[in-house]
Amino acid sequence: MEEINSLMHGFAVALTPMNLGLMMVGIVLGVLIGVLPGLGGANGVAILLPLTFAMGNTPAGQVSAIILLSCIYWGALFGGAITSILFNIPGEPWSVATTFDGYPMAQQGKAGEALTAAFTSSFVGAFIAVLMITFLAPLVAKFALRFGPPEFFAVYLLTFCSFVGMTKSPPMKTVAAMMLGFALAAVGLDTVTGQLRLTFGFTELLKGFDFLIAVIGLFGIGEILLTIEEGLDFKGMTGKMKMKVVIETWKQLPKYWKTSLRSSLIGCWMGITPGGATPASFMGYGVAKKFSPNGASFGKGDIEGVIAPETAAHAAGTSALLPMLTLGIPGSPTAAVLLGGLLVWGLQPGPMLFEEKKDFVWGLIASMYLGNIAGLIVVLTTVPFFAAILRIPFSIIAPVILVICAIGAFTVHSSMFDVWLMVVFGVIGYVFKKLDYPLAPLVLALVLGDRAEDAFRQSMLSSQGTVTIFFSNALVGSITTLALLMLFWGPLSSLIKRIRG
């Protein structure tokens, strides 16, 4: 096995005391960055990128530099789950689905379990993705090339449809929320015509609505408003502060191996195509809900509802590095910044990287194994401390969260306008919850709406307006069909039941 030999060589490159030290530093920094909403992995890596320029002069230094940066990335991925579970504030788009069951669990006093499940499944997802990168890299890179605009649109359609078809809320409410999200996503420059849309002459609207600001407002501020209305509770929650919770949760986890496996596969596939971690997490959640025997309890604090999106998101986040290395297209903003780093060190990502810089590539892959193990150890030891945050009374923690949210919203573009925007989104979030409209479809549409629109219109341009392009080959045809099936799953399954019964 050539891959095993290369990988062993990679371990030899990566396993130096210096690199192990950098790994730990990177993970801790990354977790801190992930916890602060608004900072995010991409910004964190960008800020620390200059530190590595001096390291990149030698081939060994290049490996150390990428280990430091990618460990910050892993750390931020782990850290993103913490605020989603504790405060219902997702720090990254792919953490949104984690809030569905993670936050209810925390409110029931099971924050420790939720965090342990989230971290462990992150690790499992990432690990399976790294295994795939190790053995299937060349094959996988070829598969990604088959994705043109129609294929991309079909994937986004599948994400949207599976959401409408599987959600608990009335489908029409889901569609309404999604439409609002699409409208918000349309603000700013239109890629296809090069014209500004819905900006009404306000220069602040040129850049469109940033996902992070919307999410901090909708989830974070909205949640605080709701809690205030329910009456200020001066007691903190009682949370266990023992390491035992980790072991106990681990005992439960193996039962859910089917969900983990399914989510890993969804994640790897979405990461490679590259649909990205966000659709992966939503699809992982939706599919788990459909197939799990406990599907009905999803959204009320089911541990499986944490495992499914986290596993998928991390499998996707990790496998998204593959298209960056082999094709030079970054699958995520963080990957884009890493790409910048590679260029400064004199490494050009692309099909030749695997041929010409074997040491670097296999060193990086080996560091993915090691970095994730190191990351799991670091975050698990901190579970009791993070869970203990919830024991602080709401009257103290709420102002702190508000301040952190405001700082987070401000840092995204260093703009005061965004802070006000966050407040507006907070009110929208509150109203949505009062009227029992789901927030997730709005967020999903805001994140993926304009990419889906671009892909659709690019497809229409190249087919000169014929919709059959979405059935023009086996790949795109099967994804589109699957999407339509998902959309009409509810009516279809009840029809089948009626025919049988």
């Binding site: 960008a46 700013g188 090069g194 850049k207 970054p330 884009a336 790409l339 910048g340 341009l461 190249s462």
Partner: protein, 345 residues
């Protein structure tokens, strides 16, 4: 529409006071330091009016790396992407920062095309031109598995197929890639379907996957796919061939790519990679950055970067740069008017 105007003015006033103090101090103390009358007193924001990973972003992050590596500045240089509205966000940000010497911006052709296409209230004259760093070339690329060996063969095939059969992929809409596409159409009578994507790297990959038939990618966006034997360059949109003789693939160098003019397509288009400051800055402040970029251009790293991306290393400053900008603005105006890309008034 500048809601943040007053705050910024107050801030920059504050900065000016600080600066005045700093300058006074440095004059008082450091008469022995002969070269510079002004130096940054805090970190400098380096605005990129484009997304992460694109050509301008790569160059900005590379410059940041060179400055750190060779210790060319006491303060740090921080790259900030402001890509909203095809770069309008970045341009308006720098336009609003009048007299702020701690902000510079790297530009691409959207310096001209974005205001013309969208009608946003911005013109390059709102900024202070510092230096042209290089010109970026455009190359006509096809997939290496197609039979077209020359640009002539390709355009003949496009013509033979009839209108709207061949797909040209490019970055953005009504920007440089589409301007070149329209120019080709004017000269050859071909008609492409132009498909806009968000970034140059994505465009190159779409060509490798055969989702489009050709692109006009910059060299640096497509070079790795060329080296891997996936793409084939047909011609360069310049009046002379590129000067780099080192072999990029086993058999070819950048200098082996013929000009499009020699292939019967007289299209000559390069993209500006230049540095600007906000309006109202002093001569000394501009001089600092001119000097800084001179030092950057003297490093071996920069020369290597120029060759890797097959840039035209023409570098202009001062009046010559202004003259070049004036001429290019007129050219873009007429190119875009011909193509029907101007914003409706």
């Amino acid at each position: 529409m500048h809601k943040s105007g007053p705050t910024q003015n107050r801030l920059s006033q504050f900065r000016r006071t600080l600066l005045a103090g700093a300058i006074a101090a440095s004059i008082g103390l450091g008469i022995s330091a002969p070269s510079l009358a002004w130096e940054p007193t805090k970190s400098v924001e380096f605005v990129v009016p484009a997304g992460t990973g694109g050509g301008a972003d790569q160059m900005a992050r590379f410059i940041q790396g060179v400055v750190t590596k060779h210790n060319l500045m006491k303060q740090s240089l921080i790259v900030v992407n402001k890509s909203g509205g095809a770069g309008a966000e970045g341009f308006l940000d720098v336009k609003g920062a009048v007299k702020d010497p701690h902000k510079i911006i790297i530009t691409l052709s959207n310096l001209f095309t974005t205001p013309l296409a969208t009608g946003i209230p911005f013109n390059w004259k709102d900024l202070t031109p510092v230096q042209m760093l290089a010109l970026d070339q455009f190359v006509l690329w096809v997939n290496a598995e197609t039979p077209y060996k020359t640009a002539k063969e390709y355009t003949t095939a496009v013509k033979a197929a009839g209108p709207s059969k061949f797909k040209m992929g490019g970055t953005g809409s009504k920007q440089e890639d589409q301007i070149i596409t329209v120019a080709i159409e004017k000269l050859t009578g071909d008609k492409f379907i132009y498909i806009p994507y968000k970034g140059g790297g994505e465009v190159a990959v779409q060509l490798v996957g055969k989702h489009v038939d050709s692109t006009v990618n910059n060299p640096i966006e497509a070079v790795e796919q060329w080296r891997a034997g996936k793409l084939r360059p047909l011609c360069v949109f310049d009046d002379k061939v590129m000067p780099y003789n080192a072999k990029v693939t086993a058999t070819q160098s950048w200098a082996d790519i013929p000009t499009c003019k020699s292939q019967g397509m007289d299209v000559d288009y390069q993209m500006l990679r230049g540095i600007f400051m906000p309006g109202g800055v002093t001569k000394d402040q501009v001089a600092f950055y001119v000097d800084l970029f001179k030092k950057i251009q003297a490093t071996p790293d920069w020369k290597e970067f120029m060759e890797k991306g097959a840039f035209d290393p023409t570098s202009l400053t001062g009046d010559e740069f202004v003259k070049w900008l004036t001429k290019e603005e007129l050219r873009h105006q007429s190119l875009m008017a011909e193509a029907g890309f101007l914003a409706k008034k």
